[in-house]
Symmetry: C4
Subunit: 206 residues, 4 copies
């Protein structure tokens, strides 16, 4: 299996999932729609934005991982499909969450899907990096460990959100949103490491 075809297929799946999320927002079929009629749609819109951003972060993470992969063997291929299975599943809990944020069961289902996605990403990364022939030559042990941490820590945050849902689903939602916010907004921790790695990358290719 060629790496670039794996990328193209995965990109396609990410693009479709991120777009399908909008199909879940439906306005009530009244003849004269008012602002009052649109208010119940707010949880749907919030869930749409949250899920769009989370899937967006997953897409970027997928690219970053593949950047260090040189070759794809059969196992890695199936691990990639496992990862995509989790991504494709997201619209279902997202559609439940869009109905309202008060139900702890729905919040937990959403959180568990995200945990499953991150776990699949982690398996993918650990399998690839434990097979020298699959990754680029200049990948050092320290960086592998750092990416492993970066993939694992959101799982802790999501697990906390799942645990806390019975007590306050509002806090759970803040925790869900905190993860993409950390990855999107520039912060010193991410910048230094990625900067260092990209530098090493340039040095190798130069």
């Amino acid at each position: 299996m060629n790496k670039s075809r794996l990328e193209a297929f995965s990109d396609g799946v990410f693009a479709i999932v991120i777009t399908l999320l909008i199909l879940d927002i439906h306005a009530p079929s009244t003849s004269s729609l008012s602002v009052h009629d649109l208010r119940p749609l707010l949880p749907h819109v919030v869930t749409f934005v949250l899920s769009f951003v989370i899937v967006g972060v997953y897409w970027v993470a997928h690219h970053h991982m593949l950047h260090f992969i040189r070759q794809v063997d059969r196992n890695l291929l199936w691990l990639n499909l496992l990862l995509l299975l989790c991504v494709v599943f997201i619209p279902f809990p997202a559609s439940l969450l869009g109905r309202g944020f008060a139900n702890p069961l729905v919040v937990r289902l959403y959180g568990c899907t995200l945990i499953a996605k991150n776990a699949a990403g982690l398996f993918f990364w650990l399998y690839a990096t434990s097979h020298r022939e699959l990754v680029v030559a200049h990948l050092n042990r320290e960086f592998v460990l750092w990416v492993t941490k970066i993939h694992s820590s959101p799982m802790l945050v999501y697990a906390a959100a799942v645990g806390i849902a019975g007590w306050s689903t509002a806090i759970s939602l803040v925790l869900f949103a905190a993860v993409p916010v950390f990855f999107i907004f520039p912060n010193r921790l991410l910048k230094r490491r990625i900067g260092a790695m990209t530098q090493a990358d340039h040095d190798t290719h130069a």
Copy 2:
């Protein structure tokens, strides 16, 4: 993040959004459909064509901007996702508008989504061009300003449409349609500038 992968992913999202728009046109489930039954679908069809053309113009604009971008950093990546978020949102106000053109609230929601999309495109362009290392070398200040104007002026038209909606939604719709018409039909203003830039481009690559 590789520029060509950003393009491919964005293309995928644009292609899916532009195609999903048709899913909103449903004929009534009568056993013997007549021309009379199809008449209420007219606003849906008009909205479909309008939104298809607007998203098409956005897709072309996206390509034109990326043509001058050499490298994509993390911030630009997230600005691109913000832009795509606005594009993916379009089917929702489009689906409301398809139910009829008389409701000012719906016309305003549609207009505000378009303004948000243009604003995101503007942020993308301004961020990229204010970082020399992200754009191609031969990009002059005059051209950057011209593209900025080209991206900003539709926002004024859309804002006028939003403002005027309370008085006449018909004029709002004409204003919405005027923007893609300006970009699609050959006119001297667009031709001269793009021609000049493409020429400069050829000279540089030659």
Copy 3:
């Protein structure tokens, strides 16, 4: 506009349209489904296969045309979007046709959509080939005319189907199906011409 990006975007739209067609087949929600319950789905399945094959032929025709195009200017870009607009519209009349073949109005709407698609393809081809700088050098006048005929003749068949619908929709459907059958099953007319052109193509590139 780069030619390969136009191809990729068009391919995406064709792939989505061809796949969305299946969403129109829904079985009745009875607890114990029998063969009897599936019978009303037959027109849906026939329409699905017919539309899949027609869109497939359009996709192949699109590629054949683009094979001879070297460069894409703004007008050609918009003509391509017009062509895609017609393709994206197909699922709507297809969904009406799937409800049953007896309604002449629906058969006519389906036929008119196909005529519009072919007309858009014809405009695309005529515009491109009347601008020497947009097409490959070895394109001779005779071949241009032949492709023009190949694109125009289905319009006559579709028009006949539209005209005949008031008298017999069954004949209309046979006419709709005849067009892809002609293009798919090997026949001497197509083979000789395409063979000759491909040969000329090889000679030029050799």
Copy 4:
């Protein structure tokens, strides 16, 4: 027809089909969703995972076949569209199967769709390999036969599942699931052959 465009289009269709499968899982619209309300969704989720994995295996098989194809002629192009037609059809029987596993008719429809897909894949492979100019030079007769067997054997398993459905749909489902499990989990039979072929491949390209 260029091989890489055929691949890109097919990838697009596979990616959309694999993602559309999730649209079939809908929770009941109750205000307070409980675990009890989610239980009827279990067949939908199981069918989603089963179909996702089966389509995933088809995607991988498609790539493996195309790996040995050098050139695509008109017939191969239409055989590929026939194969995609079967893939695009899968969401329909999958949607029926998701309603419950007890109905033999539905299980048979699902199985027959899978048989049709494998038969189309087989026609594709047999046509390509019986035309020397379409395949890579180092393809030996033994390997062609092995791939033919690998494509045919699932048809026997599916046919057994269809036959047995009247007696026990549970066994049919186990048989459906057995096929992707065989292809995904590493086993000596697959490994040796693919390893040998890849080796031959490397030797040829070296």
